[in-house]
């Protein structure tokens, strides 16, 4: 069902790229191992011995720590000079080399019961990197479950306060369990972490102008998952209405996230779908609504330097006029992940 739908939509949207993406989506995905700073384990050495590398420190050119210096990234056909881009610090994620299909073994707990790494789609790290969490920032993760990205954010060790929210209660309890498996209790106290189960779309009424950084990783058609799992599939007939109203829900969530951000703060919108309807179109819609309904001016921050930096690990869709998108490819079977960064000017 999902496949038919994708064939119809994406062959038009992605053109010649679609066959390569299609075969990658239908084949086993590739994972990355997010290293857990709070654990002490020999697992990591073993992994490195097998050939894994941290893709973040192995990007082309270095992430800028100081925003005043110009990025030295020059990669391929780029006539415009990439503007400096800061990334969240301290995040490390091991991946096997390009074309290597070795699987990660499950992580084992150390003597304190904390796991040494968390397996996730390495491309999922990109939105957290792009969010650029800096020392003592307050961060809101609006759709946080199952918790991988929240965990990434905590790895930066720069978050003064993290609010992790998800609509579903059972999913937030899963989120709690994830965090407890990785982060020492001392860092999960109420003054550092708040886990809530509110409807994200109403956040504008709960808290406004409250966070330095907001991550809006919205529910979407989860393309890869929808192709492989029949259970409760979003493309089933019983969920047609829900699926069709996704873009609207996504725009509402993004708008709420924007409202929750302090002026001068950043919002990062991300999805795991290839669909332009749920990606660029949603961003444009939310930006427009923010201006029209709330008089908020937003600036799009180009993620081109990020894409260039990690083009040796991921395949990015070329010529996206708004945001960046990791597309699946057999030799680098990560994604799909779409990301777009906005800055609140007013």
């Amino acid at each position: 069902m999902a496949l038919q739908h994708f064939d119809a939509t994406y062959s038009a949207q992605l053109g010649a790229l679609w066959p390569s993406i299609r075969v990658a989506l239908l084949s086993e995905r590739k994972y990355g191992a997010l290293l857990n700073h709070f654990s002490h384990n020999l697992d990591v050495e073993e992994l490195q011995a097998q050939g894994c590398k941290d893709f973040i420190s192995n990007g082309e050119g270095k992430p800028e720590e100081d925003s005043s210096s110009v990025s030295t990234v020059t990669h391929g056909g780029g006539s415009r000079q990439p503007s400096p881009l800061r990334l969240s610090p301290n995040i490390r994620c091991l991946v096997f080399p390009r074309g290597d299909i070795t699987r990660f073994r499950p992580a084992r707990p150390d003597k304190f019961g904390l796991l040494s790494y968390y397996l996730l789609d390495a491309a999922s790290i990109l939105p957290c990197l792009a969010l650029d969490v800096q020392e003592s920032h307050t961060v809101l993760d609006l759709c946080a479950a199952p918790g991988g990205k929240a965990l990434v954010l905590l790895q930066t060790q720069s978050v003064r306060f993290l609010c992790a929210n998800d609509l579903s209660v059972s999913r937030t309890s899963r989120l709690k369990r994830v965090l407890q498996s990785y982060v020492p209790k001392a860092l999960l106290t109420d003054d550092k972490l708040r886990i809530t189960s509110f409807d994200g779309t109403i956040w504008g009424e709960i808290e406004r102008n409250a966070f330095d950084r907001v991550l809006v990783d919205v529910p979407c058609t989860t393309d890869r998952h929808s192709l492989m799992e029949d259970d409760n599939n979003i493309f089933s007939r019983s969920r047609v209405g829900e699926r069709r109203s996704l873009p609207q829900l996504q725009a509402e969530l993004l708008l709420a996230g924007i409202l929750a951000t302090c002026p001068g703060g950043d919002v990062l919108y991300s999805t795991c779908t290839l669909s332009a309807n749920q990606n660029q179109a949603v961003v444009q819609q939310a930006v427009q609504l923010a201006e029209e309904q709330h008089g908020i001016q937003l600036q799009v921050i180009s993620l081109c330097p990020l894409a260039q930096m990690f083009s040796n690990t991921f395949h990015f869709a070329p010529n996206l006029h708004l945001g960046e998108m990791v597309i699946p490819h057999l030799a680098a079977n990560f994604g799909p992940i779409y990301l777009c960064k906005l800055r609140r000017l007013t």
């Binding site: 075969v23 996730l120 199952p146 990205k149 529910p219």
Partner: protein
């Protein structure tokens, strides 16, 4: 008729060995004198008129004299004769030597020249161990199945192993092809001619391959024969097809036999080298096909291991009725099961 008998008798004389029960090939059409060693053909021409009944009751001798001399007399060059002699000497038991000469004679009667025979035995030393009677029977069987003169010799010389296969096995493969796969007799003969190794294939594998191509790929018998499908391994066929299918370039025909795209022809998929297949048919990079083969091999191995059992994980019951599945991240404890989390549609 007479010529045929004479040839055999002449050979017997020459070899000083009379096998009791060499069966005379029923459909032996012509004996090309030019295929015989020149010494023999001269003899043949000379002795036709001198046929006497006594020739038909030649003295039986129990042991054959396998010697370089006898090999040379059959028409082998010195080099070839030495090689043959060595190979046979190295084989265990005196029986090898006893049978070799009659085995060789059967091959000559088939119409093969000494060089071909030598190459054949070099390629397939197992032939030494096949009794001449069996050998003759198998050749006859192949003739019955439609391998006509010319084809028969070509097939045997390219794939001598076919003569080491018991008649029963050949029969069961042929029966399978005719009755289960509904190939015509003519088609079966062509398959034997073009892909003789089919007689050695496991019937289950053969069935899977046929059904895969027939149902999954929607290809009919005639095309299978034309493309020499049975020359290719199941894995090869499956891999190339699955690559195309997942790229969206090959569709299984529906009940009416229709597809919304034009499928590439089986010939164009199989009978090209990997580079051409990847670049032209699949329109992909070599790197993609490379990784794909590895991934698929692993998939199959795991399917086999699990015998198609449904994978279910008790921790995986986090599905909500109203919520989206935001599952691009997997629970740590699932580890490997996260990789296998798929139920193919």
């Amino acid at each position: 008729m007479g010529t045929r008998v004479v040839v055999l008798q002449v050979l017997r004389q020459k070899l000083n060995y009379v096998p009791n029960s060499t069966s005379i090939p029923v459909q032996f059409k012509t004996c090309k004198a030019s295929n015989l060693p020149s010494s023999l053909s001269c003899r043949l021409l000379c002795s036709v008129s001198n046929l006497t009944p006594s020739l038909l009751q030649h003295n039986k001798r129990n042991s054959a004299e396998l010697s370089l001399r006898s090999l040379l007399d059959m028409g082998f060059t010195e080099y070839q004769a030495e090689q043959l002699y060595d190979s046979v000497s190295r084989m265990k038991g005196g029986n090898a030597a006893k049978h070799v000469l009659s085995t060789l004679s059967v091959l000559f009667v088939l119409g093969l020249n000494p060089t071909t025979v030598h190459k054949l035995l070099d390629k397939c030393p197992e032939l030494y161990t096949v009794k001449d009677v069996q050998l003759q029977q198998r050749i006859t069987q192949l003739r019955h199945l439609g391998l006509v003169e010319g084809s028969l010799q070509r097939t045997v010389s390219h794939y001598p192993k076919i003569l080491t296969v018991p008649m029963k096995s050949v029969k069961s493969v042929v029966q399978f092809l005719r009755e289960k796969c509904l190939f015509t007799t003519q088609q079966v003969a062509e398959i034997l001619r073009d892909s003789p190794a089919v007689v050695l294939e496991d019937l289950d594998q053969l069935e899977y391959k046929f059904q895969y191509v027939y149902f999954r790929m929607g290809v009919k018998q005639a095309e299978m024969v034309k493309c020499r499908l049975f020359r290719f391994s199941l894995d090869n066929v499956r891999c190339r097809h699955t690559f195309l299918e997942r790229r969206g370039l090959y569709q299984t025909p529906d009940k009416k036999g229709q597809t919304t795209i034009i499928n590439p022809k089986l010939d164009g998929i199989l009978n090209v080298d990997e580079g051409t297949f990847t670049a032209d048919v699949a329109q992909a990079s070599p790197e993609e096909y490379d990784v794909f083969q590895k991934l698929l091999a692993r998939e199959w191995k795991e399917e086999e291991f699990e015998h198609g059992s449904i994978e279910s994980y008790s921790e995986d019951d986090e599905k909500e009725e109203e919520e989206e599945e935001d599952n691009e991240e997997e629970e740590e404890t699932r580890g490997k099961s996260g990789y296998n989390k798929k139920k193919k549609k």
